[in-house]
Structures are given as C-alpha cells and as structure tokens.
C-alpha cells in the first residue's frame, strides 16, 4: 500500500515538473526576424544605457524596457564572440554575468548592440532600432567607494561607507555608522587610487570627531581631529586637509531646501612620519576661505579653492552676502623635500567665470583638471547650477563637459588610468544623488554618462538613499569594518591641535519657530 502511495506521489511530481518544463519551453522567446514588425525608433529603456561608452570590465548593464508587452527579448552582440539572448516575461532584462564579461572582453574598443524585441498582447513581436553603445579599450578601476545614506538634514541615524565591486554587484560595508552608536561618516580619501592609504572622517556623540588613518592596507589609527576635505600628497608623506566651520541652513522656496556655508576655513597638512600638523600662510589666510585641496600628480602643486570672507559677524547663519561668495581656483607650489611653500597664484578666477569654482581634481596623468562651477558658495551638491568643467592643464583652457544635466553634478573622481570619471549627479529626479561614470578621452572630451549598474534594474526607482562621494580605487579596502570600529572606539593614537572643529553645526533654531521659542 505504501509503495502504491509512493508511486502515485512520484508520478504526480514528475508530471508537474514536465508541465512546468514544457510551459517554459513553449514560452521561450524565440523570434524569427521575418515575423517581426519593425518599429523605427529605439525602445525606451531605463536606466538609460544608450549611446554611451562603457568599460570592458563593468558589471552587466541590466535594464528595463519601458514598452508595453507580454514578452521581451534582447539580443546583445558585438563584432565577435557569442551573442547573448535574454528573454523575460516582464520588462526587466537581466544579463548573465559570465557571458557578458566574455563578450565585452573580446570586443574592447568596438561597438556593443542591444536588439530589443517586444511581444504584444496579440502575440506578435516588434523589433526596435538597435541600441548602440561602445566598449572602451580601457578598464575602469575595480572598486567604487561611496557614502550611502538618506537625504539628511540635521539628524542622522544610518550613514555608511560601502565599497562596490564594479565587475559584479557585490557590495560590502567599509564602515557603518550604526557600528558606533549611529555615528556619522564623512569624506573618504585614498592615495593614488589605491586602498592601502585611506583617510575617513567620523563624527560621533559618544566617541567624538576624529579621522581614521589607514596605512599599509590594514593598520588603522585614530587622529584626534575631524578633517573635512582631504587630499594625499602623491608621495604619501603628507595629507593636506581643510578645516571648515561648516553651517547648514535652509531655504524656503528653492527646489533644494538645504544649503551650506563655511563661515571660516583654512588648509592644514599632516606629516605622516612626524605626526605633525602644520599650515602655511599661503593656504590659511585670515581674510580668506581656503578649501578643497587637491595635489598635482607630480606633487609640486597644491590646487585649492579660495574666496574672500564677505562678512564681519562670523557667527550669524547664514552670514550676510552668503550668496555672493564665489571661490577662485588657486594653486601654490610645494617642495616636499624642503617643506617649502611658494606664493599662491590664481588658476581661474570667479571674476572671470562669474561662478564659484569648487572641488578641483586632477587626472592621474596630470593632463586634466576637472572642477565644479555653481552660482555661489562652497557646496555644489546642493546647487542645481553645479556642473562639471574640464581644464586642459597643458593649455589652461577650460570647457563645460558634455556630461552635465539641469541638476547638480559634483564630487568627481578619476580612475587611475585617467580615462574614467565617476561623479555624483541628481539628474534622475533632482533629489537623490546617484553615481554616474563617463569616459574621458585623451583629448579631454567627456562622453554620455551611465549610471552605476545594479542587479535589479528597478533598484533606483524606489531607493530612498543617496550615493555620494564616489571614489574609484583599484582594489578593495583591506582594513576590515571591525578594525575600523575598534579604532573609532579607542582613544586617539595621534593627537593634533586643530584651530577649527570642522563639524557641521545644526541649525534647528532657524525658521519662524525661532522667535516662538
């Protein structure tokens, strides 16, 4: 009797399995080109992976086809190698990783095509115009380190720094604020796109404000001061940083409510060997706001931004004329052997451009300098007018990159081969910053950017977190989150005297309730 039951059950399971297999086989997306209706336009896809240049080592660009249909087939092919057919009953196209890698690796420098077919309700297939992208010859650095958080105002609870493997979708926490009592994590800086030397600013009500210094890959030390914007000297012998008296305040009727002003700022530098903090008159003038240090790859020049202080009252927020502050792009020579600074010189003046010049970053080959320009102030991420510009350091000429949108573009980072630029943009919705990549060719021309690909192509549609401060590095951060947390919790190893706190001050009393209180 038992045997009979067993047989019946096994037969039922086998039959069910056969039905499922048959159903899948019959519904498989096989399309004969002769049967297709031709649609003389490209299909709408999201994210926009069309007519862009992509690195050969990037993860599959999964996307959604925004055309109504009951079945979707995408044929991905290039000049050589096997094409990839992806069939989906919903609009999400998820490309197999290995075949994608193989296709891209065999077609570096060639075009990549997406042939999109959509099956309508009546069962007929439509073929849209082929989507064409270009596979660059040059790889992008393998990892992206970024800050992940909701759009925060005064209060924060969950800020983390993650590293994403750009060759697949693996994401790993470098450090989570939740690990040290909901602490705040700020800018992370690497030496020459390598993770061996890293600086990471942290702020915690329990453990105080400090900077974590990672050296030799996994040695972590805590510096007893929180630095704001930091740049390693290419030799690794010193790190230059700005100390900013940052204030957050709020607008009423602008699309972006938040705004930031530096009431005061100056640049200092930390000498690694001697654990000394120093500054020089050239980079810390009393009547000027100096910020955003960036070294030339040869280490001979420090580029930075500088603006005159337009207010007398250094406590009022926002100060008078805050929206007239415009930063110049400056540079000053430095000799690392003798520790001598030269005289500051203006590279590009705000007077000439009519805009505030911020966030200079120089390509590792030393050829290009990319910076932001916005209407005023020191914080481009909150300025929808912020765009990326490129200056050819050989000619001194600058021009607006063709990667910009009507929303804010900022916080860019070069890959170690100087061909890729990662940057933050709010182009998707005007609110949430996402990371985009753009190819910069040898002549300094920027190509149409594409968003950091995700496994789920609808990922960004409901993502309430922002990606900020994208930094490209060649290999993953070796220091473990535990080692970093331990360092945060312990007393500082390196004590430094800092003239400014560098902490963003909450302005909860601003607004009409200030008087009521």
């Amino acid at each position: 009797m038992k045997k009979l039951y067993y047989c019946i059950i096994m037969t039922c399971i086998t039959a069910a399995g056969a039905v499922v297999v048959l159903w899948f086989a019959l519904n498989k997306g096989t399309v004969s080109p002769a049967e297709c209706r031709i649609v003389s336009r490209m299909p709408a896809i999201k994210p926009d992976y069309t007519e862009t240049v992509i690195p050969p080592n990037i993860a599959p660009l999964n996307f959604m086809v925004l055309e109504p249909g009951t079945g979707y087939l995408v044929k991905i092919h290039s000049a050589s190698g096997d094409s990839i057919d992806v069939f989906s009953r919903n609009s999400k196209i998820k490309i197999p990783l290995r075949r994608w890698k193989s296709l891209l690796n065999t077609n570096c420098g060639k075009e990549l095509f997406f042939d999109v077919y959509v099956r309508s309700k009546d069962g007929f297939w439509s073929r849209y115009e082929t989507i064409t992208n270009t596979i660059a010859k040059e790889d992008i650095d393998g990892y992206l380190v970024y800050r992940f958080m909701k759009p925060i105002f005064n209060w924060w609870k969950d800020i983390s720094v993650y590293q994403r493997n750009l060759g697949n979708y693996k994401n790993k926490a470098v450090l989570r604020g939740k690990s040290f009592d909901d602490g705040c994590l700020n800018c992370h800086t690497f030496l020459n796109n390598a993770p061996e030397c890293m600086l990471l600013g942290i702020r915690s009500t329990v453990y105080g404000g400090s900077t974590l210094l990672v050296s030799n890959g996994n040695k972590v030390e805590k510096i007893g001061a929180r630095w704001t914007y930091t740049a390693w000297h290419p030799s690794g012998r010193l790190a230059t940083y700005s100390m900013n008296n940052v204030y957050l305040f709020f607008h009423e009727a602008t699309a972006e409510v938040r705004d930031v002003v530096d009431l005061d700022s100056s640049i200092c530098y930390y000498v690694v060997d001697s654990n000394q903090v120093k500054t020089a008159p050239a980079i810390s003038q009393k009547n000027k706001l100096e910020t955003y240090p960036a070294w030339s790859p040869d280490g001979r020049y420090l580029y930075y931004c500088s603006a005159p202080i337009l207010w007398i009252d250094r406590h009022k927020v926002p100060p008078e004329h805050y929206n007239e502050v415009k930063y110049d792009l400056m540079r000053v020579s430095y000799d690392v052997e003798t520790d001598e600074w030269g005289q500051p010189e203006t590279v590009l003046s705000a007077e000439k451009t009519g805009m505030s010049i911020l966030c200079p970053r120089i390509s590792p080959d030393g050829r290009f300098l990319v910076f932001c320009m916005c209407e005023y102030g020191c914080f481009p991420i909150y300025q929808s007018s912020s765009d990326l510009y490129l200056m050819d350091l050989q000619t001194g000429q600058h021009s607006k990159l063709a990667v910009n949108s009507e929303y804010s573009e900022s916080w860019h980072s070069f890959s170690s081969n100087s061909r890729w630029l990662a940057f933050s943009s709010k182009r998707g919705d005007g609110l949430f910053t996402r990371t985009y990549f753009s190819y910069i060719d040898k002549d300094g021309r920027g190509y149409k950017p594409f968003i950091l690909p995700q496994k789920d192509p609808a990922y960004y549609d409901s993502l309430l977190q922002t990606y900020s401060v994208p930094e490209l590095i060649a290999s993953p951060v070796k220091a473990s989150p535990n080692a970093l947390v331990r360092a945060v919790r312990q007393p500082e190893n390196i004590k430094v005297d800092a003239p400014l706190t560098g902490a963003t001050v909450r302005t909860e009393n601003s607004g009409p309730w200030r008087q009521m209180q």
Binding site: K157, F249, F250, V257, P318
Partner: protein, 643 residues
C-alpha cells in the same frame, strides 16, 4: 496541536492521576471563554487600528515592505526573520478585527507553550500559570504599545524548548550537539530570545534530565555568542543579546518592564518548579512513603477534589482566567494614552468634531503638545479657533509645534510637517519630513507626505521615488500605485484638489530663517485667501499676548469675508483699548455689547486681584461666562470651560 490544548494532562506520565472528563470540559470552557473575551476586548475596545496609527508617532515603527529586497535584508542578521514576520503581522493591525486576531493568536500560542513546558518540567499541568504571559501580552496592548516581535521571538524560543524537551535525547554528547544546532538556528531566527531557550533547557537538564554538566555547559553558549559577537564581529552588547529587549522598545517604561518580566517569567517559573520538585523528592526519600500521604497531600487532595467537582471546577477553571483578565485590564489599561492616540488618529482622518469630542475627555494636564496642536487644527477646521481656543488647553509651542525637535517624540516632525504643508510652507514641510524619515524610518505616512510635497513642488520624478517605495507597503501600496497611474495620465495633477490648493498657497519667494511676522506675511502675500495662515497668525498673536498686532491685522477678517468678528478678537480689541493703545482703524469691527460687559467684569476681577493671580477670585471667574475668555488668559494665563 489540539492534543496540546487544555486537556493535555490526559497524557500525563503520572498514572496515579485519574483521567477527568468533567474537568476537561471546564478547562475547555475557561480556555474558550478567556480567549474569546480577549479577542472581543482587543477588537472592540483596544482597537488595534489605533496601535497601527501610533506606529512611528507614539511607537517604534515595525518596518515591513513587500518584495525580495526587504526580505533579503531582513534575513541578513540574527533575529531578522522574526522581525520580518513581526513587521508583517503588525501591518494587520490596520484592520482592528485582524489585528485582534493576531494578538489573540499570539496570546493563545504562548498559553499553550507555557502549559506544555510546565507539564514537561513539573510532570503535571498548572493551567492557570499559562494565562500569566498571555495576560502580560494583553497588558502591553492596554498601554497601546506593540511588542509583537518580542513576543514572536519568545514564542519561537519556547517552541524550540518544547521540541528539545520532547526529543528527550539520552546521550549527553548527542544532547549537546542537538542543543548547539538548535541554538544556532534559533539565534539566527529569533536573536536575543534564544537565551530564553538556553535557560529553559539548562533548567530542564538540571531538574528533569539530571545532567548537571549539560546544565552548566549550555549557558556557556551565551558567553560564546557574546565573545564572538563582541570580538569577532565587534558588535555592541545590545545588538548581540538584546535585539528585541533593548532596541525595539518604545518610550514606555511600563511596557519595557512587562517585556522583561515575560522573558524572565519562564526561566524563573521553571526554576521554581524544578526546585520545588527537587525539595519534595528529597523530603519524600527522607520521611518515607507513609508521611508522604500525610497532611500536605491531604490538603492537596482536597484542592484536587474541588477541581474535580464538576461545578467547582467549572467555576474555578472558567472563572478564574476571566477574573485575571479583568484584573489585568483594571491595573494596566491606559485610558489617557488611548484618548491621545484617538485625537491624533481623528486629526489624521480629518474627523475634526471627533477630535474635539475626544479632547474634552482628556484632563488638561494630560494633554501633550501634539494633542493641543491637533485641537487647534480641529478648531480651525470647524471654524471655531477664534471663538473657542481658550476653552481648551493652550501652549505657545503647541500651535505650530515649534522649538521642540530635541528630546521629544519624533512624531512631532510629521505633525508639524503636515501643518507646514497645509500652510504652504513647503521647504520646512520637506525638512521635517526628511528628519522624521531618517530618525523613524520610511513609514507610509511620511512617504505619502514627501510625495505630496514633491508633487506640489512640481518635482514629479522625486515624487515617483517616494510613491514607488510606498507601493511596496502592504496597506497603502494600492493608493501609491493609483497615484502613480494618475501622474502618468496627468503630470500636472489638475484634478487633484489638494495638490492644487497647496500650490495656490505655497510661498514662492526665496527666504532663509524668517521671523514669525515675515513668515505669515509672506504666505499671505502669496495668497491673501490663505485663511489657515491668517487664523494661525492671529492665534499666535493671541497666545503671545500681542494684542497690538491682533488689532493691526484686524482688517484681514474683512478680506477673508468674515461676517462676524470671532469672540477672542473682540476681547483683544477691548484689551488693546484698555491698555490705551493708540487709535487705529478697526475696519468697521466693533466689540459687541456682551463683549464689553465681559470686559467690565474681567476688569473688576483684575482690580480685585490687584493684577496678580488670586486663586479665590479666579475660581469665581471660572464659574461665570469669563471662564474661557481671552481676558483671563491674557491677565492670568488661565484657561477653562465655561460652566
């Protein structure tokens, strides 16, 4: 499962206890009566929909979202699975009948598990003890709190304990292996609640299994987990051990203590039983069998006789649980909290008369700022702000929930954001909404609010992100999808009255850090028909006793088409005149005769008191029609309802 229900002592190993059919019926009656009462009480009186409303405002928000993403993230940490299920079941509170079913089922399961565990440890059933943790769950509901996740974690831990004890593995090594496997599984499923399992099986091994080595070794797992969590994963102790006890608790100390008591109840109860059994065993071995059947067993026999007697058994076993239930309600029901949540609930539902009706039942000293804030909104929307606001408790910060972001329940951010949204002050509405989202989480309420703000600002793509996130909500998902569909059809949302209204009043003049006067005037400059802004401005002047500004803006009532000047503004005019304010244009408004009479009466009291607070005189005034007048508020800061 049915076999585990109240008559489970039928299968007792103690063969001396006779099978009692009559007693079983009374236990069944008690069981059914108790849980039916619990269900009806929770459904009709507690109303879980009020607890649902309190999520993220009065209580911690039990996060839950449809889709694999949220499930995957929940499965990535110990206790995440229980948290996921707890979050899901908590969503069902939206429907009171369903929420009551969830709570009753949890109470019922905990009763059954308690009974089984006690039977396994004591060798006999002590049924009434089983009702204690169930009642504790009810006591938490009586405080309008939600600790479902903590209880679910406990339920799983108890279930694992039952399984372990039922398995009755004989060899110690096998037992240790079984324990380690079960503990690891449980720690992953239920987080910190797994330590209840550790304590229960240790007690079991100590007293029933008589394997002292295991009883000592098992708690070492706790230390092991701590060491691994602390030194390998660098976790905080709270995260390692107290995931549900420490982090999920709300603001209520009472509730926190109840949860801790429930968690401690099982180890303590079973330890007590084990100790008693152990002592009884020793005693019997020393004194011999004759003494065992002496005095104490005579008393026990009488007690058993009472239970076995069908009438007595029915009364005791069916009545006692109900008495326990009633006693727990008497001890723990928090009527004030219920009313405060009701006020907020009605305000969110725009049921303004109900807001005021409920608020009248709350003692003024129990009214918190949010409650007063909602009262003022209800008064405005029922057209009674200028006539009745001083009949209710008032505080200046409550009008716009100002200057209180620190040290106050974060629910304030939603309430204030909602008011700013209605006023047309979108920048601050957005700021409050984001502050709330960071601190509390992506609650459906805040996602909808942010989507509305973004739609009103014309930032459709940003609004879609919030609506897409909201579409994953179990309760409000449909509403979000419907809104997304409407946006696709009509991006301008021309038919959406609310959005159009907000756009019509929203300030488009750029400003930073406005003072109160500028704030209101900017809104009125944008749209002089912004009645809410005007009335709140005037209410603010009344509250801050700036009668000169009330008089200076009195012309606004003409612009807004008021047929009658609200009472408090007439009284403010009288005060202005009494204080010898310079002559000013009253735009045709003159205080009515009865207002003048009231002013005279108030003046007399003021003189009698010599301008100072005088309890006797003020109490007298409160019995007259001056009770809820602006005069008393202005002079003595006294509020009250006219008798």
């Amino acid at each position: 499962m049915i076999a585990m229900l109240p008559n489970h002592e039928i299968s007792l190993p103690n063969q001396n206890v006779p099978v009692r059919r009559g007693a079983t019926a009374s236990q069944w009656a008690g069981f059914i009566l108790f849980f039916l009462s619990v269900y009806l009480y929770v459904w009709l009186f507690i109303k879980p929909s009020l607890i649902y409303h309190g999520f993220g405002i009065f209580l911690a928000y039990p996060a839950f979202s449809l889709g694999w993403g949220f499930l995957n993230s929940s499965l990535s940490y110990p206790g995440g699975l229980v948290e996921y299920i707890g979050g899901f079941l908590s969503q069902l509170y939206y429907f009171s009948w369903l929420g009551a079913l969830v709570i009753t089922a949890a109470a019922c399961l905990i009763y059954i598990e308690t009974s089984i565990l006690i039977r396994l440890s004591a060798g006999r059933a002590l049924k009434l003890i089983g009702y204690i943790p169930a009642v504790m769950l009810l006591m938490i509901c009586n405080h309008y709190d939600n600790q479902l996740t903590a209880f679910l974690a406990l339920l799983v831990a108890l279930w694992f304990s039952v399984v372990y004890e039922k398995m009755a593995v004989r060899r110690s090594v096998a037992c240790a292996v079984v324990f380690m496997v079960m503990f690891a599984m449980l720690y992953y499923i239920a987080g910190g609640a797994s330590f209840v399992f550790v304590s229960l099986v240790s007690i079991y091994e100590l007293f029933v299994g008589r394997r002292k080595v295991l009883a000592v070794l098992f708690p070492a797992a706790v230390i092991g987990t701590y060491l691994v969590g602390r030194y390998v994963f660098d976790l905080e102790i709270e995260i390692i051990h107290l995931r549900f006890l420490g982090t999920r608790l709300g603001y209520d100390l009472w509730v926190r203590n109840i949860v801790i008591c429930v968690y401690l109840f099982f180890p303590l109860a079973l330890f007590g039983i084990g100790l008693r059994q152990g002592l009884a065993g020793k005693k019997s071995s020393v004194c011999g069998a004759e003494k065992d059947s002496g005095g104490s067993s005579l008393k026990a026999g009488k007690l058993r006789q009472l239970f076995q007697d069908s009438k007595g058994g029915l009364i005791v076993e069916a009545g006692l649980p109900i008495i326990i239930l009633l006693a727990s309600i008497l001890v723990s029901f928090d009527g004030t909290k219920k009313k405060l949540i009701q006020v907020d609930y009605f305000a969110h539902q725009k049921m303004w008369p109900e807001v005021l009706r409920t608020a009248r039942r709350i003692r003024s000293e129990s009214c918190d700022l949010c409650c007063i804030h909602n009262i003022d909104r209800a008064l405005y929307y029922t057209g009674r702000l200028g006539d009745e606001m001083f009949r209710y408790p008032q505080m200046v910060p409550a009008l716009m929930l100002t200057g209180m972001a620190t040290g106050h329940p974060v629910g304030v951010f939603t309430e204030r954001g909602l008011l700013f949204l209605e006023l047309g002050y979108l920048g601050n509405a957005e700021r409050d909404a984001f502050e709330y989202m960071e601190l509390v989480g992506s609650t459906p309420l805040i996602l909808e609010q942010l989507a509305t703000i973004k739609l009103a600002k014309g930032q459709l793509e940003a609004a879609k992100v919030f609506l897409n996130a909201l579409s994953k909500d179990l309760i409000f998902g449909n509403r979000a999808r419907e809104m997304l569909r409407r946006i696709e059809q009509d991006p301008e949302l021309a038919d959406d009255e609310r959005i159009q209204y907000i756009r019509s009043v929203a300030s488009d003049k750029e400003s930073v850090n406005l003072g109160v006067d500028d704030f209101f005037h900017q809104l009125l400059d944008k749209n002089s028909n912004n009645k809410l802004a005007f009335e709140y401005m005037m209410a603010f002047y009344l509250l801050t006793k700036q009668v000169d500004k009330v008089v200076a803006n009195i012309g606004g009532f003409n612009d807004l088409g008021y047929k009658k000047l609200p009472r408090y503004y007439e009284e403010a005019i009288m005060l202005y005149m009494a204080h010898g304010g310079p002559r000013t244009d009253l735009h045709g408004w003159m205080p009515r005769l009865e207002t003048i009479e009231r002013a005279r009466a108030a003046g007399r009291i003021y003189q009698l008191c010599g301008g100072r607070y005088n309890e006797k005189e003020i109490r007298g005034a409160l019995t007259s029609d001056l009770a809820d007048s602006y005069f008393l508020y202005h002079a003595f800061h006294v509020l009250g309802e006219r008798k």
